[in-house]
Amino acid sequence: MPQQPRLLQGNQAIVEGALYAGARFYAGYPITPSSEIAEECARLLPRVGGVYLQMEDEIASIAAVIGASLAGAKAFTATSGPGFSLMQENLGLAVMGEVPCVIINVQRSGPSTGLATKPAQADVMQLRWGRHGDQCLIALSPASVKECFYLTVTAFNFAEKYRVPVVIGADEIVAHMRENFTVPAPGEVEVIERKKPTGPPENYLPFAPEEDGIAPLAAYGSPYIFHLTSSMHGPDGYSNNDPANAAWRVAQLHRKIERYRDEIVLTQSFEAEEAEVLIITFGATTRAARAAAKQARARGIKAGVLQLVTLWPFPDKEVAALGERANTVIVPEMNYAGQVAGEVQRVLGPAKDLRRVNKYNGEVLTPAEILQAMA
């Protein structure tokens, strides 16, 4: 049956994307503005033979997701700021144990409970640095319902391919807006499956990278018996306190991401090649930025937009390429400190004319506010 266009909410599109990517396990705990993801999963997952579990809190949710992933499932959870904070310890385990999983963080205003129903983009640094220790993961940020779908598929692909947790840093605006969207037919969008071991089970080393830099991952329940611990471990998965091993492990967690950095870092540019005024943006603010650039061009200002689709690893190269060419760079974002602006300044240097537009009152940034920064 041909797919029909549907008026989908961002949160629904995320669920559609997850199902498309083959996700068959969701464990979560309701929290505004992400609850529709849980509700959709409760409704849709059982129909495709999947599992929906409502857990007693967010700690339990991400722990169950890690467990299910190790049992071979594509697994995910969704939450917002307070819940994402509770997930940090287990996210560290997912990094350390190289467990593929997807976490949706629909950002809302904080700190703490904050404005529970209002949007923010203030978790950018938490996405990257929220948990302790030497660790890294991948974070993506959608700006539309369509991107909610495609980036969720991409998130699963990255998670499965690189054995890493992938966080989608959405926000209340994209999560709750509705747009027309047609779910693509099966096969139209690439779906990546995790690499499984092929050799004799007794030789299986769950943390020994192959030539591609990634170790194959067996499933509990398969003939490949393996050991996973949150403690420092060697290629065999057993605890290992040797300094040389620890250095190798920590480096490995980073190097696999660094090696595939160009595949992982996604950006979109809009009239940015010749821009004298470059707006660097992400998430829902992209929409205001594009409108502002359009209005600026109508007034004769050569303005363009660089949208950071991947937030982490940070798109240094892409920011440098377009940012160095522009006279002025504007970074609008819905947080006080300029979490992305700080990264952009790091890339372009302190001499760059970088203008921050920060809004942190729970309201959406408008094109007019971005235009003002061009004056």
């Binding site: 309701p30 929290i31 505004t32 609850s35 409704r43 409502q54 307070p82 703490s112």
Partner: protein, 315 residues
Amino acid sequence: MATLEELSTRRELLAQGHRLCAGCGAPIAVRQVLLALPPEAHAVVCCPTGCLEVSTTIYPYTSWRCSYIHNAFENAAATLSGVQAMYTALKRKGKINEDFRFVAFGGDGGTYDIGFQSLSGAMERGHRLIYVCYDNEAYMNTGIQRSGATPRGAWTTTSPVGHVRTGKHEGRKDLTAIMAEHHVVYAAQAAISHWRDTVAKAEKAWEYAKEGPVFLNILAPCHRGWRFPMEKTIEIARLAVRTRFWPLYEVEKGEWRLTVNVANPLPVAEWLKMQGRFAHLFRGKGNEEVLAAIQADVDRQWSELMARCRSAVPA
């Protein structure tokens, strides 16, 4: 206990003008507990996130005429533990002379599930505080998702009803008994329909909280989540007791005692039928097993409770 006339003259610590729904059971439970506070004592109230917290603290107002602290879902009992422990230390040193009492009001979400760890810790450490759960059997504040208190068979947005699923598949946690098994000084189960019983239990609670931890579990129906006409809140609560779905009892220093006997119970279906969240169980055929399982839950719970109640059953 205080007479109704006396109670009516006491200053309400939860002021009118809050934004809880008309017909909401939660503020009725809170007021029945707070009215039993000795007038000379001060209260410190702690609420985890939930309908009660959100709706009584709408910007820029508050309904609380007393010290009040809010923390996120999982933290109320731990937060109040800190307040009470420091108060006790200061009191011991003679730096505070006033009589303060400590009470947390959480919904079943913040109590049965995410807040369970901090609640259990506070009860085990023996903090001198009251934890009151206003139990409306689902996460109403975030949009009617199932909780550990949701009964078998109930529809919620995360225990949907369809061709295969018939609402929640699992039974509910018996949290009052679990708290009693922490060997707290006083634990009781109450319902807003039985105000005299609830106020009597609350009076004991305030008194016992001077010695150690107290837990009250008060059934507070939610017409939005249970799907019944808003004027029927009290009736629904009363029927939960009349069907033995929600027995009223107390555990006083280890002594289990039924406080309201239900000699001739109505079938639990009479209570279920009044609520839209169970409507699917009465549409067509094929749900007899679920209905029988709910009745079996009720019967088992009652007989277990009877076995624990050594004292005479009141008339």
